[in-house]
Amino acid sequence: MTDTDNTKQDYDKPPSLSSALLSLTDEQRQHLEDLSKHIEVLLHASEAPLTATVLRKHLSLTAKELTQALALLRQRLDMGVLSLHETASGYRLQIANNYSALIQRVFPQRQERLSQALLETLSVIAYKQPVTRSDIEHVRGVTLSSNILRQLFDKGWIEEKGYKETLGRPALLHTTPQFLDAFGLSELSELPPMPDISAIKAMS
């Protein structure tokens, strides 16, 4: 698999890009262009980062097609404000680093404020892990917005690990060591004790 080789080159163009794309016919190039757009769509739509394996599976790509399509995608993104970022858990699209000052100026609250919906979701995952998406919806009684999960993945506070052996094999969500760091805990057992929710619910 080539996707782990260029982990550290997120913001550089891979050196062999142009040579890899040079010898293509127009038709091949158009095909690759389409593939790169499909990859971009999936990255924009996914809650969690997508690994090379998952991308290849969903789009039926060969390893070579993936490499070439990603190269094309990087080329196209260079004209805009996004960059393709590869983390341990997969690829994701993020706003290029040089715009961080602009974002912080316009949305100073963007980083610090955790919405109630986000906190509730995180709490359910932290206390009841491993949980599926529908477990969270069941506890909270409302549908879970993709945007909230995406934010939790972005912060690196949750990860997908394993599947529940039930219809559709939904992914199981866990909290990460970064979550513990952010909340000043050294292990999960240090979480404040769970309130007796059923007692509260019965009375209120």
């Binding site: 970022h85 706003i95 961080s100 109630q116 529908s134 952010a182 805990l185 009375m203």
Partner: protein, 309 residues
């Protein structure tokens, strides 16, 4: 699929509870009726009690019951269905046979579960009232009272209108079903994280309290909400439920000035009202702070609050 079914159940408690098909919660076994799939060999149950025979003039094939289970949104919806099934104009609705059908249907319910079927029973009593009126000889002098049958038909019409409108609404191109927002991540953590604050784990617990204690959206909303009441209620609940009891004074959060104290006080009142918190009588105990105070203060008894849940 699973999520969807859960939502349906949560959203339609009345309709979903009224009729339960075996393993209704197991989405594997229920084929979506509107997918056109046939459900075979389904024994019908109404509230755990299996129904041996259906009301005679209301034979509904078992497939239709699956539709009923998922599709009917209440007694008006069910009445509309009966009217349609009898193939009559709504305004010409033959109230007697329809009432008979409705009541025959409802009578199959296990008496133990009648309280759950409140909405359906309310409609049943309305129908009985109309039926009675139709059977009694008409009073000679026309009364000013509204004709209950006309009123019912009006309600049915209004409901039918809304039902169609809701289907039209559902046909609109909708965000997060037909079109999707693009999601991107913020610039690198290290760049943005420079000023990331550290969070207290109590935020998590407070959010759970808030989720459970959330008023039913019937409370008045306060425009300027520098110190959110819900947050304070959650935080005080956490402190009291963890430690069992606290002195009133300690619970008044003074870090946010007067407003903070006032909101804390209101939060405590709210919790007392909901009987989650009680006052412990501590009249004769001496309080450490009273020792250094003058006589005037010493008659104020320290107040201790206790978690009751």
């Amino acid at each position: 699929m699973q999520t969807e079914l859960k939502n349906e159940q949560a959203a339609l408690p009345k309709a979903a509870l009224l009729l339960t098909v075996p393993q209704a919660s197991d989405s594997l076994d229920i084929k979506r009726a509107h997918d056109g799939s046939v459900i075979n060999d389904m024994s019908l149950r109404i509230y755990q009690t299996s129904v041996q025979h259906l009301p005679e003039d209301l034979y509904v094939p078992p497939q239709a019951f699956a539709i009923w289970l998922e599709q009917f949104a209440g007694p008006l919806d069910f009445l509309l269905y009966l009217v349609k099934k009898n193939n009559v104009d709504l305004t010409q609705m033959p109230i007697l046979p329809i009432t008979e059908q409705y009541l025959a249907y409802i009578s199959e319910l296990d008496t133990e579960h009648f309280e759950l079927a409140g909405d359906y029973l309310l409609m049943a009593s309305t129908l009985i009232a109309i039926k009675t009126e139709l059977l009694l000889p008409k009073p000679e002098t026309p009364s000013d009272e509204r004709d209950p049958k006309a009123e019912l038909i009006e309600r049915l019409e209004e409901y039918a209108q809304i039902k169609v409108a809701s289907q039209r609404l559902d046909n609109l191109v909708r965000l997060e079903r037909d079109v999707f927002l693009a999601m991107v991540s913020m610039p690198g953590q290290d760049v943005m994280n420079a000023e990331l604050p550290s969070y207290s784990p109590n935020l998590l617990i407070d959010s759970l309290f808030k989720m459970q204690l959330q008023p039913d959206y019937q409370m008045h909303t306060i425009k300027v909400d520098a110190v959110p009441l819900a947050d304070r209620i959650a935080s005080i609940s956490r402190q009291l439920s963890t430690d069992g009891e606290h002195s009133f004074y300690e619970l008044l959060d003074k870090t946010q000035g007067k407003i903070g104290v006032v909101v804390s006080f209101v939060a405590i009142l709210e919790l007392i009202k909901r009987q989650l918190v009680g006052i412990v009588n501590t009249e004769l105990e001496s309080h450490p702070t009273t020792d250094n105070n003058d006589a005037e203060d010493s008659h104020i008894k320290p107040l201790t609050l206790q978690w009751l849940a």
